[in-house]
Symmetry: C2
Subunit: 521 residues, 2 copies
Amino acid sequence: MAEAATAATERTSRRERGGGRIARREARSHGPEGLHRPYIVRNIPTYDILSEENLIRIEDTAERILSEIGIEFRGDPAATALWKKAGARLDGDLVKFERGMLREILTTAPAEFVQHARNPENSVLIGGRSVVFSPAYGSPFVMDLDRGRRYGTIEDFRNLVKLAQSSPWMHHSGGTICEPVDVPVNKRHLDMVYAHIRYSDRAFLGSVTAESRAEDSIDMARILFGADFVDRNCVIMGNVNVNSPLVWDATMTTALRAYARANQAAVIVPFILGGAMGPVTNAGAIAQSLAETMAGCALTQLERPGAPVIFGNFLSSMSLRSGSPTFGTPEPAIGSMVVGQLARRLKLPLRCSGNFTTSKLPDGHATNEGTMSMLAAVHCGANFILHAAGFLDGLLSMSYEKFVLDADFCGALHTYLDGVKIDDNQLALDAFREVGPGGHFFGCQHTLANYETAFWDSQLADNEPFEKWEAAGRVDAATRANQRWKKTLAEYEAPPIDPGIDEALRDFMDRKKADMADAWY
Amino acid sequence: MAEAATAATERTSRRERGGGRIARREARSHGPEGLHRPYIVRNIPTYDILSEENLIRIEDTAERILSEIGIEFRGDPAATALWKKAGARLDGDLVKFERGMLREILTTAPAEFVQHARNPENSVLIGGRSVVFSPAYGSPFVMDLDRGRRYGTIEDFRNLVKLAQSSPWMHHSGGTICEPVDVPVNKRHLDMVYAHIRYSDRAFLGSVTAESRAEDSIDMARILFGADFVDRNCVIMGNVNVNSPLVWDATMTTALRAYARANQAAVIVPFILGGAMGPVTNAGAIAQSLAETMAGCALTQLERPGAPVIFGNFLSSMSLRSGSPTFGTPEPAIGSMVVGQLARRLKLPLRCSGNFTTSKLPDGHATNEGTMSMLAAVHCGANFILHAAGFLDGLLSMSYEKFVLDADFCGALHTYLDGVKIDDNQLALDAFREVGPGGHFFGCQHTLANYETAFWDSQLADNEPFEKWEAAGRVDAATRANQRWKKTLAEYEAPPIDPGIDEALRDFMDRKKADMADAWY
């Protein structure tokens, strides 16, 4: 908590001290009726399903994978040099780690940290009891009910950043909210980072697809926040994937080291499809994931001890009839709970699960899988929940309708994570005295005093009686969502930004773009 | 566990001893590919969200409601006489209970018991770590995609019993699976009980709408199982509702006493809509529910000490904008977890939550709410989960499509509740040795040895790639469900029944029907 307290002080002092770039930015609160909270502080415990004894068996298996089989770090001599210096055993690119070595290196990583947003009201605490919802990440396609599935564009990207910014229940602007395939591959990171900065005033993720793109992303954050502030505080994160099984490639390790070097947070995420990139048994996939994540997290600490880092996880299963990947199934949901326990034993902030599904429509299949998967995320104690909104089609498509349905569910989860309050008012003994057996609570004093804060009220569920719903045209949830996102985009207003900063960002992008020929692969 | 052991012995001895009505019935296993298990034995812990200290505050509030405000038992002199004899304070129909009195009376109730099915393979253990899924209960309407919403008929009733019987993931045939409104009100209980016996060979619920109908239901069970067996074993249950707040009426208390008198299980269920039949604050609604349920459960023990009884619960919330009830919202989900903790402290089997929603379609709204609600049921440790399949429209409609979608999700929950197994095979160290960094697990020895038991494989989810799904006609989940229930009904075969028993049941019904004029209200 010392870290959080320091961060909170930092935030306050930034507001109070008046001068500087950041203080010149206008702060304003967001969301309808002031509902927006920058993040959730959970008031219910995590759901711990495995015994200490069994957790130790998984940890032991991970240590044996690390010490007996090892992990390959391909094509990044600086990374292997760091491992050698730290005392690992090297055989070419293959790195083996003595039992306990990675756990020891990881003691320098902070248990929690603040990711600052350009609007200080939206800075998020990551770690401990905090929960941060961030949109789905990385889909090449977008979908909506009107136009179906198509490749994402920078216009879609901006639209989706705007939808996230407009939701009181999302806390973070995300990263590659969809791939803007109409922009050259080697330049789109600039447009993506700019869109997050310009159309949102929440925290966001930068590029990881090349070391130079990671550095460009961080440079843009420096323009926004000031280089000194960035060196002392986390303002941007990068989400890097292991090449499971047991391989880290140079693209990912140079990107994660770029973030760590700049004191920015890398999110270290194995993506294990059981039966393909990992074993078909859940316990083995979890042990593998622990080994791979510990190695990636530890590398950030070798690059810069004390750099913020997130222990990430993305388990999924596959249909062994068709070979298709499956998402939102029970094994990964259960596996997430175990991963949460393991991350807490390492004292690292956790990214885990999200609103996963293979459905190609925002239908009953999508929200069944998505809801189980998303509840696993909040039950397992994930602090940063990427893919909290919009995920369809096994991550291949970002759906406009699913985005607003999921964001609404994120609202319900605010109430859920608030748990049950126990005090005299909540226990309501006076209400029972007033109403008595057979009475009605609708107009009683206790109800009048409490109804404004009572009960989650979804903006997308239709709770009306059947007859009223029928008279209104028998509208289903997907169609309501379609109407909702159009209304939200029509009403969207960009948060204000300092014109000088905006100009500096545009200059930076123009220069970078002019320096490179377009590349499309 | 002594009780469960006895019951299991009983079951074995029934199978072994050969003679008698029950042994003459043919036993056969059910479900596709022998998947059917009679019930789940959970392998993950319950999700306990409240501290001991706060549970005690809720229990204390319930005791104060019981001792200071009291509960009215209206119009059942036998019930009030039982309370008087037990030492309660009476003021007309208002009964007040000394602190601790109900808890003391409840010590005679079994912590777990077996409800026997006519096929002994399908008998269910209720209590402890067991989980039993039962269909939704009590809707006056039915819905399907072809015909929309209409009043339920006895044909619908039989269809839905057949769908439940055909699912390997349902464990129980339920009770009023829909109201057969084409049968006179005073006779339909006979047709309903007969349909459960004839078209299913699983355990079921009888009527509670009048004492005589409860007794008819139990008499039919006696024809099926033999009177002696019924006196010694639970073979039928009755689901009785409190008239919240704090009223038990004679219809319900005479029915619950009829079940208890026959040594059959009553399920005692307050139905508390926060803001109407209870306070708008969750803690108060939970305390009320505890008070009301304890009183109902205790009355069964006064009627017949040792009779099986289930601690039931049905929390819901309301939209304070429209006054409409809401279902599947976060407050009841969280409340269920607390109710689970309270029931375990009373050492009573628990019925709690179900697949609740207000949606009028089997759409994304329905399965989002339903999934959260159903996961609350399994997390809270509910042993008997009524409303596990088919619930739509705030309980006003039983949906054919939602039934099969929910039953499929019940299948996923079998895997979920199985948790993570930790042993050398599951930890898969040998697989990592075999595959190594950068390899592929698809064809490895470990995968070949384990793929048949790996991963839940939904029959209704579409995990195919988008292009294949598109080529197959872009079918949504509701439409797949529509196709599925029609196929299931077309392929349904009734389980065999002893012709002598069938004739005796029909004779009983004919006599009972001939004795009464039709009543339609």
